[in-house]
Every structure is written in structure tokens, then in C-alpha cells.
Amino acid sequence: MSLNVEHHAARRALPSEKPLRLLDNAGHAVTGAATGGFSLPDTETLLDLYRKMVVARRFDVQVTALTKQGRLATYPSAYGQEACEIGAVSAISADDWLFPTYRESVALLTRGIDPGDILKSFRGDWHSGYDQRSHRTSTQTTPLATQALHAVGLAHAARLRHDPIVALTFLGDGATSEGDAHEAFNFAAVWQTPTVFIVQNNQFAISVPLARQTHAATLADKAVGYGMPGFHVDGNDVAAMYAVTRAAVDRARAGGGPTLIEGLTYRIEAHTNSDDPTRYRPARDVEHWKRRDPIERLEKYLVSEGALTEATRSEITDAAEALAAHTRDVITTESELDPLELFDHVYARPRRALLEQRARLEAELAEAARNPR
């Protein structure tokens, strides 16, 4: 059965060691083996990805600034990782589900979630700020790699229901070391669920470099151990991230099972605002990677193709500024929080003990209002 043979070969195919790319750092289209057989998306798609990246970058820079002003409790920046996140997340549709980590603010933005809602958790308002159901986007998960299993479970449920949706999940290079990453890859492969794993390899887990996370040649190599296709992709090439993820999503939707995609990128900013990267990496490494900026790369290509007019450019800039302004607005507006809500969502079925505790806090607040200190 040739089908089986092919299938079987795919189970053992080694990902290319050089990251697949469709655009090189100078913005030239790549041809030949280095593309892994993937083709450059059409210009309209690329323009759309460009627009999303520019807006996202502006958002990210704005939020980092607001965080430095003390407006947010914490913010894990995605600066420099826009291609990896946006390329991948643009390959799924609104009906598909996304299972992000705390790092994917720009993916969430791309998914149409309002900045204020994306940032609610980082502001310290509530643990998860947006409507997970209407956006089909699970919470920004902190316990590393745990969300990958949620993605597998949801995908499996959909498959049992013959619902042709896909679950896409992000996890970091550091997170691949966790047992849950392994269990997620394995369950997905054994159950052949429509799940796409994006390992966003930004080369650091807080201060710990990739070499202390794995001895494998690439993180995509892990796919072999699960009999699942793995791709090692230039994560700063949005075209490649989009094309490879798109192919994986299509395959998953068609019943072809899961895929592991490593996007090789770099974390330009600190891990979060409370981190001090000067302790563990030289500034020149950051400079080196800044020169591989994903937005500039695509911009060069679009400009060289004559696809990015000045009008479009200024329209995009305006959109980005508008979003930044909106972000400033929502973040500088005082949040309205009701401490009594702390008790309201713990259980679906109300509990007497919690109602009692709620009443106690209510009385305490009333007392404090009467006798402010």
C-alpha cells in the first residue's frame, strides 16, 4: 500500500537542519531546496501579514512603554517575534481554536482581541481578560506546556464530532523540556488529532539559552520520536511561517494529524519588564538579531516588488498609531473592579461557605467605606 509507505516515511522524516525560508534576510525570494517545497504566499497575503506585523510592533512597543510607566504588573514582550506569531496564527481561521502562552499578545491582537482585554491579566485586573469562547482563544497560559494538552484534547473532541476545526498552540523553546510538551505531542500523534504545535524558539527561557534546554540539532527533530511531521522554519520569515503553518493546518483539517513546527526567532526584549538580560547575554547578540528584523525583511521584499505604496504605508502607520492611542486610553483608564466578584466564578453551583465569605467581605468593605482610614 503506497499510502502506508508514504505515511510511514513521513513518520521518520528528519526536518531540514537549516531553517526553511521563503524570504532571505535581504528580502529576496528564496528558491530551491531551502524552501522545503513551500511557495511564497501571494502579495495580498503578504501585505496583510505586513500590516498585522507593523500594527503589532507598534502595540508591543506601546505596551512596553506603559509597563515602564508602571501601568502594568508585567509584560512579556513579543518584539522581534512578530513573524513567528503572526505568520502562524494567520494560518488558522476564526472557527479554529488557539491555545496561547503569555508571550502571544501580538498573536491575540491579530486574532482580533481588543488590547484592553489582552492586557487585563498583565494589568492585574483578572486572570484572563477576553471572551475565550467568542474568540475561540484559550487563556494566556502560564504553567509551561500545559496548554498544549488542552489543544490536543479540544482537537480530539472536534474530530470525534466530525467538526473540521483545528487547534493551534504555541509553546516556547524552554517549555519543550516539560513533561507536558512530550505528552501533548504523543497524545496528538497517537490520536491523530488536528493539532498544530508552534514551538516558538526565541532561544531563551528567561535567562537560559537553548543549548541548556536541548542537545538535539533542532527542536523540530522531536517530531520524529512521535511519528509526526516536523518543520524547522525561519521564524523571522513571516512568509515561511505562514506557508508552513498553513500546510499543516490544511493537512490537520483533512484528517492528516498533527504537525510540529519550530519557528527559530529571537527575544529582543527582556523576558518581562522585571528581567535583566544584561546578566546573561551580550548586547551584541541582540544587535545581531535586530539586524534580522522580520518586519524589515518583508518590507524590503514588498518594496522591491513595488507592492508597498506610500499610501498603503501611511495608512498602516495611521492604523498602528490609532491602535497605540487606543491602547494608551484603555490602559490609562482606571479599571473598575469589584472585589466581591472574587467569589462569583469559582463554582458553577453556588456554595454556602463562599456566600458567607462574600458577605463577610461585603460587610468589611461597607465598614471601611463608613470609616475610611
Binding site: 481554536w97 491555545f99 483578572w126 486572570h127 484572563s128 471572551d131 475565550q132 469562547r133 484559550s138 487563556t139 504553567p143 500545559t146 498544549a148 494538552l149 488542552h150 489543544a151 490536543v152 484534547g153 479540544l154 482537537a155 480530539h156 473532541a157 472536534a158 470525534l160 464530532r161 487547534a167 513533561g179 507536558d180 505528552e183 501533548a184 504523543n186 497524545f187 497517537v190 466578584e341 462569583d344 466564578h345 469559582v346 463554582y347 458553577a348 453551583r349 456554595r351 454556602r352 461557605a353
Partner: protein, 341 residues
């Protein structure tokens, strides 16, 4: 679905037959699966084998392997995927083979199962059930007889129940599956083969209620799961000596039915709680603390805890020395300064 609705069994209203607790649980799964196709069951060895305790016996044959199947051997994976399935809208019922083998799933249970609903302001609730064959007294080798209930009960966001008899096993499992809150459903292994005549479907008291299973006037013995029988045995023996013991079966550890427990304690003015787990930090501490908080001025003596020792669960030949027995319960009651009452 609400907890009070009349349940339809797939093999509707049968005449009473002798059923073990394992059999009752099996019937509950069967009826829940027949009634609601969102109910799926998976875990280790639950398929063709029917579970190491046969609780899922015959279910794969009946419902096929898209409703009940063997997963890879990884407990975090089992619970983690169940979360995803529940987000989708299924009602997964997953099995951890023994208490100690739920520990790899600890993070998924504590950091997600318990917190998802709160985190999402109720937008994402997780109607899933984690079944845990629990506790000891079955001659199991190491790691097969842990009592993990205090870990779960002390975690806000979880509902933790433990039936002590076949009728409750059926009814409470049905209710757990129907619940929109995630439920840790603990099944005392040593009671799996205890029998009772049952006409299914049976609906007992709501699972969040404790029940007085034997009335008495001098002492309240509080047990759950395997120690309800211990308490009843102790009550029988004590009755011969003229001591009238009331026995409360907690059934639900979290939430805790203060009304029922406090009412009993106020009547008897003395209470003791019995469990297999070690005493230090065990669930009995919560029982003793809250019974005392709420009924201090009604108590004639401190609430006693009659429990396993503060040691790892022993090997099969030594477990009898560790487990609280009816004798040990009666001996403990002797330590009270009765004359003060």
C-alpha cells in the same frame, strides 16, 4: 441538567438486584453515556480490559472506541486533554488508576481544572470528572493505597466526593457527570466489591449533602468512603456496651455539609472523625477544626481524629496495623474524659 431530575437508566427502572459498588459505578457510566453522547470515558486500561477494577467492564463493547478508549499512559496527558475536551463541550470522565498515579496530573488538576472557571469569569467551565480509585486495605504493594483526598479537598475550585456504598456510587457518579463543575470522584477500592440490592436508576441524596446513616445520642462518628463501615462496626460494638453512636457519612468532602454535621454534633456533644490517611494535615484536621469552630460551646470534649499513623502507607502485611479499625475507634473514645460531659 440539574441534580434533582429523575434519571433514566438505559436499562430503565430495573427490579432490585445485588450490585457491587464496582457494578453500580459501571451502571452509572453506562447510563450516563447512553443518555448524553457528550460523555466520553478514557484512561489507562479502561477499554478492552474494563479497568483494573472492572468499573468500565463491557462499556467499550457497547459504546465503541470513540466513546471509551485506552489513552497513552500519561496522567497529566489524560487530565490535560480532558480539559480541552471539556472546553469543546464534551463531558469527559477520566480514570487515574490509583491515587498515587494521579500525582503526575497534579499540575493540570490544581492549576487548571480547579481554576479555569474562575479565571474566565465562568465563560469556560469544565464539566469533567476525574475518577480516582482511592485508599487502601486491599493488600496493594507500594503506591497502590495512598489516600490523596486532602490534596484535592484543600484546593479551591474542586468538588471532591467519595461514596461509601453502591447506591451512592451510582447516584453520585451520575450527578458528578451532570455537574458543570469539575469533580474529583474518589472510589474506595476496598469497597468495590461490597454489595447492596439496587433498582436502577437510583437517586440518593444530592451529592453535596452528608447523611446520618445511623442515629445515636452519645457520640457522632464522622466517616467517609471506607471508614463509614468502620464507624458502623464501631457503633454496633458500642451499642452492646450501652453507648449510642450516631454515624455521619460525609459523602462530599468539598463542599462540606456543615448543617448536617453540626446538627449531629450539637445533639451528641462529642465527635470523632475517622480516615485512613495520615493524621497530620489530613482531612480530619479540617473536620475537627470546623466542627469545633461552629460548635465549641456545645462540645463536651475535643473532636478526636482516628486515622492512619503519620507514616507512608505500609506494605500489605503491615497495613492492618496502620488502618483505623472499629477496635481502635472504641479505644480512642475511651481517651475522652467522659466524666466531664
Amino acid at each position: 441538567m440539574t441534580a434533582t431530575k429523575t434519571r433514566t437508566g438505559a436499562d430503565a427502572a430495573s427490579a432490585p438486584t445485588e450490585l457491587t459498588m464496582a457494578g453500580a459505578l459501571n451502571a452509572a457510566l453506562r447510563d450516563a453515556m447512553a443518555e448524553d453522547d457528550r460523555v466520553v470515558v478514557y484512561g489507562e486500561d479502561v477499554g478492552p480490559l474494563g479497568g483494573v477494577f472492572r468499573v468500565t467492564d463491557g462499556l467499550q463493547e457497547r459504546f465503541g472506541d470513540e466513546r471509551i478508549w485506552d489513552s497513552p499512559l500519561a496522567e497529566s496527558g489524560i487530565v490535560g486533554t480532558a480539559i480541552g475536551m471539556a472546553i469543546y463541550g464534551m463531558r469527559p470522565v477520566v480514570e487515574m488508576q490509583f491515587d498515587a498515579f494521579s500525582y503526575p496530573a497534579f499540575e493540570q488538576i490544581v492549576s487548571h481544572v480547579a481554576k479555569m472557571r474562575n479565571r474566565t469569569k465562568g465563560r469556560v467551565s469544565l464539566p469533567l470528572v476525574v475518577r480516582i480509585p482511592c485508599a487502601g486495605a486491599i493488600g496493594g504493594v507500594e503506591h497502590h493505597s495512598d489516600s490523596s483526598e486532602s490534596y484535592w479537598a484543600s484546593t479551591p475550585g474542586l468538588t471532591v466526593v467519595m461514596p461509601s456504598n453502591p447506591a451512592d456510587a451510582y447516584s453520585m457518579l451520575r450527578e458528578a457527570i451532570e455537574s458543570d463543575d469539575p469533580v474529583i470522584f474518589m472510589e474506595p477500592k476496598s469497597r468495590y466489591w461490597a454489595k447492596a440490592p439496587l433498582a436502577l436508576p437510583v437517586t440518593t441524596a444530592p451529592m453535596d449533602r452528608a447523611l446520618v446513616v445511623r442515629e445515636g445520642s452519645d457520640v457522632t462518628l464522622i466517616g467517609y468512603g471506607p471508614t463509614v463501615r468502620t464507624a458502623l462496626e464501631a457503633a454496633d460494638a458500642a451499642a452492646e456496651e450501652g453507648l449510642s453512636i450516631e454515624v455521619v457519612d460525609l459523602r462530599s468532602l468539598s463542599p462540606f455539609d456543615d448543617e448536617t454535621v453540626s446538627a449531629s454534633v450539637r445533639k451528641t456533644s462529642r465527635a470523632a472523625v475517622i480516615h485512613e490517611a495520615a493524621q497530620f494535615g489530613g482531612f480530619g484536621a479540617e473536620v475537627a477544626a470546623r466542627v469545633t469552630e461552629r460548635n465549641f460551646y456545645h462540645l463536651a470534649a475535643p473532636v478526636l481524629r482516628i486515622t492512619g499513623f503519620d507514616i507512608p502507607y505500609p506494605s500489605p502485611k503491615l497495613e492492618e496495623y496502620h488502618l483505623p479499625t472499629a477496635d481502635r475507634v472504641l479505644a480512642a473514645l475511651e481517651t475522652w474524659e467522659w466524666e466531664l460531659a
